[in-house]
């Protein structure tokens, strides 16, 4: 029921933000479309912790600024690599073991790695991620430990890192 309510609030906010016209007719059409979306999501069995992950919003909003900082730092490294007169890179493939338990936390961790320029998650098997990095020294498994811990704490809750 909480997931249902979260999805409802998110859809209403999305509709109001997108529309900009608040006449009675359009509001009626909007509520009909929100109801239709909810019915479809219910029939497709999508209303669970992955279809409506708004309960984890607080943890994620604490994780987000840190991720942005990492992305900016990594961007600078890759921009330098792109523009250097002589190409000087050392690509590497590494296996990273994750402490994330739920699928959502693993997806968050893998997407964070991919979103950071210079590293891409190539494959996930169980709790091991195959990561391709632009610089060998920057993509050792220890380099991802903090991101791993933070995304596990953001999605799985505080007790997940023990």
């Amino acid at each position: 029921m909480a997931y249902f309510l979260g999805l409802f609030v998110a859809l209403v906010a999305f509709w109001l933000g997108m529309s900009g016209h608040y006449t009675p007719l359009l509001l009626c059409l909007g509520s009909v479309s929100v109801a239709l979306c909810l019915i479809l999501a219910y029939r497709l069995d999508l209303i669970d912790s992955e279809g409506s992950p708004y309960g984890r919003m607080l943890g994620f909003s604490l994780y987000f600024p840190w991720l942005m900082k990492e992305i900016i730092k990594a961007n600078w490294t890759v921009i330098q690599a792109c523009l250097r007169a002589d190409l000087d890179i050392a690509p590497a493939l590494v296996k990273v073991k994750s402490v994330c338990r739920s699928d959502l936390a693993k997806v968050t961790f893998a997407n964070s790695i991919t979103l950071t320029p210079g590293t891409v998650t190539v494959a996930i098997e169980g709790d091991k991620l195959l990561v391709h990095g632009l610089y060998e020294q920057d993509s050792q498994p220890e380099a991802f430990a903090e991101m791993d811990r933070r995304s596990a704490r953001a999605i799985d809750g505080r007790g997940a890192t023990t």
């Binding site: 992305i71 002589d86 890179i89 690509p91 590497a92 190539v122 632009l134």
Partner: protein, 124 residues
């Protein structure tokens, strides 16, 4: 105090168009840097890294610039939605492409690569 806030608002109205244009231009330049990287890097996986500059900082800066020039809060909300969707979909797309290449058996170049080695390969 209210005078100061009114002054600040007037100042922001003047400054936001040039600032937004400058930030958008910086984003466009970063997209170009990403493109240059895609051209220069040697193999598929390293090119993916260069493309991710365009995805993250380039697009984010262009969106921030547009938000500075936006005529109303509704437009800012829409730009924020675009940013969120980009933020969630672009790594998924990169991962799908990389995973497809890995599954198809494309081996990445490993180890130090510098300009000299590239030229030797070109001359062969």
């Amino acid at each position: 105090m209210s005078d100061f806030i009114a002054n600040l608002q007037a100042w922001f109205e003047v400054v936001r168009y040039p600032a937004g244009a400058a930030v958008s231009l910086a984003g466009a330049l970063l997209c170009m840097v990403g493109t240059i990287g895609v051209m220069r890097f040697p193999d598929f996986y390293t090119r993916l890294h260069a493309a991710s500059i365009t995805d993250t900082s380039g697009a984010t800066l262009v969106l921030i610039g547009m938000a500075l020039m936006a005529p109303g809060w509704l437009i800012v909300a829409k730009l924020l939605t675009i940013f969120l969707f980009m933020f969630f979909t672009s790594p998924t797309a990169s991962h799908a492409v990389a995973n497809a290449a890995h599954t198809a058996g494309l081996q990445p170049l490993i180890g130090p690569i510098n300009g000299r080695r590239n030229r030797e390969e070109d001359s062969q």
